[in-house]
């Protein structure tokens, strides 16, 4: 039901965009302790790992990376209440980090406390709207809660209404990328006005106050905080499209699938799982794939909605095709994701 690797792959992939949470100015010794603890933990030596973590925490008790690891160690050791305490405290101290919520939820779910798990996961997603692991876990928790509700509806023995949960614990603490200052801002390029493509607003139709309707859109397109350097959104979009095409061509299915939004409209209306399965088979089934993106044209529909139309050339050992394609994109957590994929005009 749940691909345990996928979220971690995704996290690894997004590490390019994100950067590991590190508190500036950490003493070297402490960093060493933490690093060692992580290695010990990976090697399954949880007790030794715990000692190192405690040493690191003795020097800096608030350090989130070490506390997060401590929570993982407790989880691994089956000390669920201790793990809950650690992760819960982390969510209080760092309410913007999605991972502690997620792990808290995984433990709650393991105890059958699905309502608590749900609350934690919903919080995690509120923190990071595109947090894939939390979404998948939340999906499982909803399904579990649904089966409990069905059990009550139908007076079934709810103890056997479904398999044990398979929620994914997150092993790394990753900070949201938007906090990273964006590098160079080519301010010369102006965002394409949506009005340029479509016929201008029918002013004649709405004589009272066309200006009253217009400004919010314009304001939304402009960067919210003037002091923040604005990146050219269209270049982000193009970068994303290239990354998508490359992942496809490299037959890196996990990376490819990570370009699709959670609410991606599958072409045949099939379930996400079914669609992913087909894509996985198709892409990894080919001996080689070449994907070309030619003359792409980006249209910003809102600050976090865009469409890109291009000529796609596809060549594999099985098929050769050229067609126009439009990707409807949505921005979530600083990342452009595909919401719909349309062939032809």
């Amino acid at each position: 039901m749940l691909n345990l690797n996928a979220p971690r792959e995704w996290l690894r992939g997004s590490a390019i965009l994100a950067f590991t949470f590190m508190v500036g100015g950490a003493a070297l010794a402490r960093a060493d302790d933490l690093q060692e603890a992580q290695q010990l933990f990976k090697a399954g030596q949880t007790q030794q790992a715990l000692e190192r973590v405690n040493r690191a925490l003795a020097a800096n008790p608030r350090e989130p990376q070490a506390r997060f690891l401590k929570g993982l160690i407790f989880t691994e050791q089956g000390k669920q209440q201790d793990a809950i305490d650690v992760f819960a405290k982390l969510t209080q101290d760092y309410p913007n980090l999605p991972e502690p919520y997620n792990n808290l939820a995984v433990i709650y779910a393991g105890q059958g406390q699905y309502e608590k798990a749900r609350a934690a996961l919903e919080q995690s997603i509120r923190t990071h709207p595109s947090y894939a692991t939390a979404y998948e876990n939340l999906g499982d928790v909803y399904a579990k809660l649904a089966s409990q509700a069905y059990g009550k509806a139908l007076q079934l023995d709810s103890s056997n209404t479904g398999a044990q949960n398979k929620l994914s614990l997150v092993r790394e603490l990753v900070r949201e990328p938007t906090q990273k200052p964006v590098a160079a801002a080519p301010a010369a390029k102006e965002p394409p006005a949506p009005a340029a493509k479509e016929p201008p607003a029918p002013v004649a139709k709405e004589p009272p106050a066309p200006a009253a309707k217009e400004p919010p859109q314009v304001a939304a397109l402009a960067p919210k905080a003037p002091e923040k350097p604005a990146a050219d959104p269209t270049s982000d979009v193009l970068q994303m499209v290239n990354g998508w095409a490359q992942a496809w061509a490299k037959q890196d299915v996990d990376a490819y699938l990570a370009y699709y939004a959670k609410d991606f409209k599958t072409p045949g209306g099939e379930g996400r799982d079914a669609w992913e399965k087909t894509r996985r088979e198709r892409i990894s089934g080919a001996k080689s794939i070449q994907v070309g993106v030619e003359s792409p044209k980006v249209t910003m529909r809102s600050p976090d909605q865009a469409s890109v139309t291009f000529r796609q050339t596809y060549r594999s050992d099985k098929l050769k095709s050229q067609n126009r394609k439009t990707l409807d994109l949505v921005k979530a957590d600083g990342r452009w994701l595909i919401q719909e994929e349309k062939a032809g005009k």
Binding site: L138, A146, S147, A153, Q155
Partner: protein, 385 residues
């Protein structure tokens, strides 16, 4: 102006939510679903479950709302195929019945065709629409029915038209409540109480139908309601509904008319039918009082029968009795007229008969079944009520 409209809309919405019955609340859940406000729907169903923890249908809806967040639903009550499908089906049917009742109210100007006239002592009448799993409570408004409440009901597993003992069907016909059995006299299965009805009645026995023990009753304490077709023939209401309804029932008086599908009529048509039958009844009374036995007997159908007599023996008996009278005075009071569902133009007429004559005088409660034959009302059954 727009603000006022919005405020009003908000008011209407909040009232839909705060409305008293769980069915209203369930309806508000579906309204939210239709408005694509799944979060609101989930909150509403959670509140509903908190208030009525035994409302199984609410759990089914909750399950769907949660599952919809995890993956697309295939159907209402999207339960895995391994669970007993008839249980899911029962809840689906309940949902449909309840929603339909909420959305398709009887027209304001329509009344059930059955209630031609209530007597002044009958404060209420019940009409059951089997197809819709609905019981309508009518108040007696100067002899005319006025809808005051309606309830979801569970009926027989095998549907309607009971004919045999143990057929698990609900009878179709005109009945009345005969007793009040309080909760303490019953097992938990019957819930808040029970009101037996007089199945089999005169007409049923005449048709050779048997069986017994058809009750209006409540539900066990571990459920809020049962699926539409689940009883052994009884009419089952939720316990709060049974208690509310029970307060309006009068033993021996309150009619319970059970129909397949209620036929509706406008008041004017109904009044015309009532008047034509009332005229026939008055003519019967006058002809009996006049001691013109042949005119009197002309009111009886050839297929007439009483408990122990057919038309021939009845007419012979009446000729003999009437010829011995030098005077008869006949008064009719507390007349009720209830059309029999399913039967073509058969009306149950019940009244108090004040009979005086040289010789015998008595006051009795009498029941007659009148049927329209070739455009004229004829008596096909007569007996004490």
């Amino acid at each position: 102006m727009r603000r006022v409209a919005a405020a009003l809309a908000g008011l209407a919405l909040s009232c839909a939510v705060c409305a008293a019955t769980p069915e209203d609340k369930l309806s508000a859940v579906f309204e939210a679903v239709e408005a694509n406000q799944l979060d609101v729907a989930l909150k509403r169903v959670d509140a509903l479950i908190a208030a009525y923890p035994n409302f199984r249908l609410a759990y089914l809806v909750r399950g769907d709302l949660l599952l919809a967040r995890a993956r697309p639903l295939e159907t209402f009550g999207n339960v895995v195929k391994t669970v007993p499908q008839e249980r899911v089906e029962g809840l689906r049917e309940e949902a449909l019945a309840r929603l339909r009742a909420q959305r398709e109210r009887p027209g304001e100007d329509l009344v059930p065709r059955y209630v031609l006239q209530l007597n002044p002592e009958q404060k209420h009448a019940l009409v059951v629409d089997s197809r819709r799993s609905r019981l309508y409570l009518y108040a007696n408004d100067g002899g005319k029915p006025r809808l005051v409440a309606d309830y979801y009901v569970t009926l027989g597993k095998n549907g309607t038209e009971k004919t045999r003992e143990g057929d698990q069907k609900t009878p179709i016909g005109v009945y009345h409540v005969t007793a009040n059995l309080p909760r303490k006299k019953l097992t938990d299965f019957y819930g808040a109480g029970a009101f037996p009805i007089n199945y089999p009645n005169e007409w049923d026995r005449r048709q050779g139908r048997d069986g017994h023990g058809i009750w209006l009753h409540g539900v066990p304490s571990n459920v809020y309601s049962r699926p539409p077709r689940a009883s052994d023939g009884c009419i089952v209401l939720s316990n709060p509904d049974l208690l509310a309804l029970g307060r309006q029932l009068e033993i021996g008086l309150t009619p319970v008319i059970i129909a397949d599908e209620v036929e509706w009529s406008d008041a004017k048509t109904l009044e015309a039918e009532r008047a034509s039958l009332a005229a026939a009844l008055e003519q019967w009374r006058a002809d009996w009082q006049s001691r013109d036995t042949e005119r009197y007997l002309a009111h009886y159908s050839q297929r007439f029968s009483s408990a122990d007599q057919d038309y021939a023996s009845w007419s012979a008996h009446k000729r003999k009795v009437n010829s011995a009278k030098s005077w008869i005075k006949l008064g009719l009071g507390r007349v009720s007229m209830l059309r029999y569902p399913r039967e073509r133009d058969v009306v149950v007429v019940t009244f108090v008969q004040d009979y005086r004559s040289n010789g015998l005088s008595n006051v009795m409660k009498k029941r007659q079944y009148w049927a329209k034959e070739a455009g004229a009302w004829k008596i096909i059954y007569e007996g004490p009520a």
